[in-house]
């Protein structure tokens, strides 16, 4: 059985590609056969985050337009042999994606025995974002603790419930999980940032993971190594926890409390 998971958010810059890369890598670390597809046609970036940008020969749109076979276009990850990347086209416009074409590629991946297909959605609610979510079995909605991201996430939750194959076939839409990223517990405690409960209450969904705002995320993207592979970092560990929960394991939330300061530091330090 192949499971298709869309990583989406509405708003840009919240961490969709970072999340897609770590989700796909984390699943592959567990021995699953995984394909991760960049749906952001014209603004390819997943290849950079995965560190395979110089090995892109054919892309997703080439496969859809039958200019290359799926096998030719899939880039095997250097670190995990069960992980494959399908890059977005950098030259074509987003109209190059078609619903039938996307469906055919997803079916072909299923026939190849992939356990998971991770669809990295572009920002917005245009065609690329629509097609990334349309065939999904589950959705991971990436949200930042910030007003515009939360509002856009709610819009996306509405689309997952109405404009997807699961919705149209009467299965009640795509089940969604919230992943809260760029979380800063110190700022939450200072009343400057929405907390976990705030976001859960507004959106009416529990979080499946909370990724702390941390320099390790930027350092990982600088190097083209998914942050989940930085096992010493809080962000990497938080991603590993989130994936475990997605697979049904119970894990307590970590890194969501501000570090306690002593009385002296509270009075005189900063």
């Amino acid at each position: 059985m192949t499971e298709t998971i869309v990583v989406t958010s509405g708003k840009g810059g919240v961490g969709k590609t970072t999340t897609s890369a770590s989700l796909a890598t984390g699943l592959a670390q567990r021995g699953r056969k995984v394909a991760v597809i960049d749906f952001d046609v014209g603004l390819r970036n997943l290849d950079l985050i995965m560190g395979c940008e110089r090995r892109v020969v054919y892309d997703f749109v080439n496969v859809i337009h039958q200019e290359a076979t799926l096998r030719q276009a899939l880039i095997r990850d250097k670190r995990h042999e069960t992980l494959h990347v399908l890059a977005a086209s950098q030259t074509r416009d987003k109209e190059a994606l078609t619903r039938d074409g996307v469906q055919r590629v997803l079916e072909e991946l299923a026939a190849e025995g992939f356990d998971y297909i991770v669809c990295d959605s572009p920002a917005g609610i245009e065609k690329g974002a629509f097609l990334a979510m349309y065939f999904a079995d589950r959705a991971l909605v990436v949200v930042n603790p910030e007003v515009s991201s939360v509002r856009d996430s709610d819009r996306i939750l509405g689309l997952l419930a109405s404009k997807t194959r699961k919705a149209e076939s009467g299965e009640g839409g795509v089940p969604a999980h919230l992943l809260l990223t760029r979380y800063n517990p110190v700022r939450v405690e200072a009343g400057q940032m929405l907390g976990i409960r705030d976001v859960e209450e507004v959106l009416g969904l529990p979080v499946v993971g909370v990724i702390p705002e941390h320099e390790s995320v930027l350092m990982a993207s600088n190097q083209g190594v998914p942050v989940i592979l930085d096992e010493g970092s809080q962000a990497g560990q938080a991603y590993a926890d989130a994936i475990a929960r997605l697979l049904g394991e119970e894990r307590p939330l970590r890194f969501t409390e501000a570090p306690r300061k002593g009385l002296f530091k509270r009075m005189f330090g900063s």
Binding site: V147, G191, L194
Partner: protein, 89 residues
């Protein structure tokens, strides 16, 4: 936080403001999402018809779809402007 900052009044809790604003706008957008796409256009066209007879603003027209058990009810209300009855009416 130093002792001087500690003695100063604490900054406003803006997260509370954010949550309250989100709660309102999300609820509003969810309710309008559930209604058919044609409602805004219907509202504009109705306004044009009504304006042939009475001068009202777009805001005076309230139109929504209510679900009542099995049925959907299109509810339309128009707030007419206050006017004194003219001669002969």
């Amino acid at each position: 936080m130093g002792i001087l900052d500690f003695l100063k009044s604490r900054p406003r809790n803006t997260a509370v403001i954010a949550k309250e604003r989100l709660r309102i706008i999300v609820a509003q957008e969810r309710s309008s999402r559930a209604s058919p796409d044609y409602l805004p256009l219907l509202r504009t066209e109705l306004l044009a018809v009504i304006r042939k007879y009475v001068h009202v603003d777009l805001e005076a027209i309230n139109i929504q779809v209510e679900r009542d058990g099995e049925h959907e009810v299109l509810e339309l209300s128009v707030a007419l402007p206050e006017h004194k009855p003219g001669p002969g009416t």
